[in-house]
Amino acid sequence: MSDNSSPVIPPLLEEDNTIDAETFMEGVWKNNPVFVMLLGMCPVLAVTNSTINALAMGVATTLVLVASGALVSFLRNHIQKQVRIATYIVIIATFVTIVDYAIQAISLDLYNALGAFIQLIVANCMILGRAEAYASKNSVSKSVVNALGMGAGFTIALLCLGVVREVLGSGTFLGIPLFGDQFQSWVVMILPPGGFFVLAFWLLFFAWREERKEAQQLIAEKG
């Protein structure tokens, strides 16, 4: 993966081609697309009413992210600056069409559950944002690694919501009942408002962690 950094096209700028853990981890933790950057919120809230939907959406988005990142990065010295956004969108739309037909072929149930949200991956601003901010400036191998990290971060975030909503809302995990018959399911969690509330809860949790860390640092500095 590391030796295909477009030998045909000499890079215009001196590029830093080192791939380290940071290239991958940036998307997973520091700049998590959902919890930190708040990008691509529509699928995050819409399809996370069960764990399996969340996982499928995460994988589909990652595939598009990696494929479009690789192609954009491969063509980065050929795309005219004025038409770059349009070019990126066409590239993304192509891969989304492929993924859309692939899911339809693999599992029709899943396709029906996700509905229009697979095609709406095109309008996920995270993918366009990555193409513009990262893939158009870095080598193919580096973009792929970074896209994988971003995709992993997005999938983890979707799962964070999907698991909580499924467990509370239907009392199941991956369709397996967790509690006895006595469990009164918390229906609002799988309805639209639940999506807003669970994401707000996660953001509160991360903000609280951040604040506590800062407070501890302050105490440590004072001795």
Partner: protein, 194 residues
């Protein structure tokens, strides 16, 4: 199968509000809803793009169906939306430079507003006729405007209130979004529970 245009309008406007229960167009909903006047203008601009692009999408779908090229649907829709946004941008820049400055980066970002692409895709899935398409796009636009204006009004008040520091920003907006969404569920019985 034949649903009345008025019901389709009401459905997209209140019962299945585009933002609050279909989760479409959340980026501008959370991003531009800081000030009431900006939110109102953003709603109008989005509605305008919605009407134009859904009519174009309707025409394109007819052509693609006739030529048996359905797999090009997504690419052609997104191209149409991008052009419609460009058109609105030129229009706004010419007639109201102050509005143009107020909307800033969010105007070109209407292109990646999933509410618009979602509208085009939903009308295709549900096989709406021409009149139904018009009703649907008007309802979706009105629903988006209503949601973003309500949100902006609430957030303007919230700026002055004293909330815990960890909930400032996105978390609080999402909680308000959740409450709005909860209250919109009350419209579910409207229109004979269909």
């Amino acid at each position: 199968m034949e649903t009345s245009v008025a019901f389709i309008f009401l459905n997209a406007f209140l019962i299945n509000n585009f933002v609050l229960s279909s989760f479409l167009g959340l980026c501008p909903f959370l991003g531009v809803s800081g000030k009431l006047s900006t939110a109102w203008n953003m709603g109008l601009a989005t509605t305008f793009v919605m009407i134009i692009s859904s009519l174009c999408a309707f025409a394109i779908n007819e052509v693609l169906m006739a030529l048996d090229l359905e797999f090009l649907r997504l690419i052609s829709y997104i191209a149409v939306i991008a052009s419609a946004v460009q058109l609105v941008e030129m229009f706004v820049k010419k007639f109201s430079p102050s509005l143009f400055r107020a909307l800033g980066i969010f105007l070109p970002l209407i292109t990646t507003n999933c509410a618009i692409l979602g509208l085009a895709l939903f009308q295709t899935f549900r096989e709406y006729t021409f009149m139904q398409t018009i009703g649907f796009s008007l309802g979706a636009g009105a629903g988006f405007t209503l949601a973003i204006v309500l949100m902006a009004g609430l957030r303007e008040r919230l700026d002055l209130s004293n909330v815990p520091s960890i909930s400032r920003g996105a978390a609080l907006s999402l909680m308000i979004g959740g409450l709005l969404s909860l209250s919109f569920m009350g419209f579910a019985g409207l229109g004979g529970g269909a």
